[in-house]
Amino acid sequence: MKVLVTVKESADIADDFAVDDDGIDETYVEYDLNEWDDYAVETGVQLAEAGIADEVVGVTIGPERADETIRKALAKGVDRAVRVWDDALAGQDLLDVSTKAHLLAAVAEDEDADLVLSGVQASDDSFGATGVALAERLGYEWAAVVSDLDVNADAGEARVNRELEGGLQERLTVDLPAVFTIQTGINEPRYASLRGIRQAQSKEIAPKTPTDIGVET
């Protein structure tokens, strides 16, 4: 089976920063792999290591700069990646959930993914909605805030635990294909090894425009 992991380059503000007229100067902004997506990447890579996933593909929406973030996912074991961007997207102030879900769904369909893993939320905009909106658009089953995952590819289903309020857990079985939003703590994300970093340099990051994947923006 093929696993697609959505990865976001999330912005963080340096400890000391200055506010000018219309925001925070770019020099004070640092970008890194979104914390929740790090757990989703680890989940995908562990599925590959267990022989359950044949291929783990990463996808991100972002400018060329975001290659560095997705390269980190490649260094941790993701096989290859797709990066979606064009000038129209660059011109938008904030990408809303529905646009992101639209673009990610097009990639998921293009890749014919059996399982899509996404972080619960991004550490910068904290919408927490992209994964679920993506499932809706794809018409896939879904579970949000997943804290334990056991995929049975032959049976075409996955047993998941999802976090509820007040420390409660819901345990359920979800038919594949499905989208799961992965909660921190589900595993212990690995550090990128030097070997992984070296291998990642020759892994593919395919730049695509929305038009390439059949989305009109």
């Binding site: 390269r71 970093i197 070296r198």
Partner: protein, 387 residues
């Protein structure tokens, strides 16, 4: 950390990723407890395999499980390790530059296949036996002897100041082969579990406390004749290893200094006396300006060495210049940083005094500061002062 000249902007993506992954690992796994290790005189031994899996040992070597990583990326790794503690960098230097390097450069196929993957992964720990109780700066006077006896060599002698000897599985021991003409210095792979080999730990150090140090005593230790490193004879063997390790030290010293600098600046901008941060006083600013300048110059030197090493033009004397300069720089910077922290600076809550104490070791190991002066003196005048 300080990057006043923007050298980080010119790194390749791979180099940045190596630096960042090392920093992330150290921040999360080592830094929180390093002060305690220093106080207790212990090394985070349980992290040795994880550091191996991450590729911290000999990544710049080619093949046999190693990665063929570029020399600048390797240097940045050493800088990050020593920014944490000189003991961390020493571990990686010994394993990679002093044990894996000679096996890689001078070993036969079987020795390489037996040892390099295990040492690289941290499954096995190695140590390097050159210095003896009576022979430090002049190791060619070594007393340790290897005598051929049938298919074996019999080793006798004492080695000391050996990083990791008490936890090592194998020692690269340099000894005079008295069975050969002119008794050349040869390298021997000595498994520490063999009869006649013992390793004592040197405790009560006041420096490099988060690092395990010991001796190697060889008393009629018998090793198979095939354990000799076949491809090298003479002092070139151990000296070429030291050039590799000193390259890492030149980078590492920059890391230790930067870490001390960062703590001093952070402290000085927070700490208020006479109604303003002490960083607002001219005497503190002069110290900060001086530290930043010295660090940046040393960093340039390290980056230049990387270029020369990458293209195969690096001379040992150039490494001596960088080791000598950069360690002296780190010694001065960590002392100044400690001073700016006042009384707080003498505790393990802050890194400068730990770095300062560590650098005292680094200043005189791998060729003392003074010996490197003489190496440069000979290179520049053609007259050897120590002969």
């Amino acid at each position: 950390m300080l990057d006043y000249l923007g050298l980080g902007d010119d790194l390749t993506e791979e180099e940045r990723m190596v630096r960042d992954t090392a920093r992330e690992f150290l921040d999360e796994e080592i830094r929180p407890d390093i002060g305690e290790h220093f106080v207790e005189g212990t090394f985070p031994i349980e992290k040795i395999p994880e550091m191996g899996e991450l590729g911290f040992y000999g990544p710049n070597l080619e093949g046999y499980g190693s990665l063929g990583l570029g020399e600048r990326a390797y240097g940045l790794l050493m800088e990050e390790l020593e920014a944490c503690d000189s003991g961390m960098r020493s571990m990686a230097s010994v394993q990679g530059a002093l044990v894996m390097y000679p096996i890689h450069a001078y070993g036969n196929e079987e020795q390489k296949e037996t040892w390099l993957p295990k040492l690289g992964s941290g499954e096995a720990v190695g140590c390097f036996g050159l210095t003896e109780p009576n022979h430090g700066s002049n190791p060619s006077e070594m007393e340790t002897r290897a005598e051929r006896d049938g298919d074996e060599y019999i080793l006798n002698g004492n080695k000391t100041w050996i990083t990791n000897s008490p936890i090592a599985d194998v020692a690269v021991v340099w000894a005079r082969d008295v069975s050969s003409e002119d008794s050349p210095v040869r390298g021997f792979l000595v498994e520490t579990e063999r009869d006649g080999v013992s390793t004592n730990e040197i405790k009560e150090k006041l420096s490099l406390r988060a690092s395990i140090t010991g001796g190697i005593a060889l008393s009629d230790a018998r090793i198979p004749a095939e354990n000799v490193l076949p491809e090298v004879s003479g002092m070139k063997g151990p000296l070429s290893c030291l050039t590799q390790a000193r390259y890492g030290i030149a980078w590492g010293a920059v890391g230790a200094a930067k870490d001390a600098f960062e703590q001093a600046v952070e402290y000085a901008t927070d700490r208020e006396q006479f109604g303003k941060p002490i960083a607002g006083f001219q005497m503190q600013q002069e110290k900060i300006a001086e530290m930043a300048t010295r660090i940046s110059l040393a960093e340039l030197l390290a980056h230049r060495l990387a270029e020369l090493k990458e293209r195969g033009d690096l001379r040992p004397q150039q490494v001596s210049m960088a080791k000598r300069n950069n360690v002296r720089m780190a010694r001065r910077v960590s002392r100044t940083a400690r001073e700016m922290l006042g009384g707080n600076g003498i505790t393990t809550d802050y890194s400068p005094m730990r770095h300062l104490a560590n650098i005292e070791t680094v200043y005189t190991y791998e060729g003392t500061h003074d010996i490197h002066s003489l190496v440069l003196g000979e290179d520049l005048t053609g007259i050897a002062a120590y002969k």
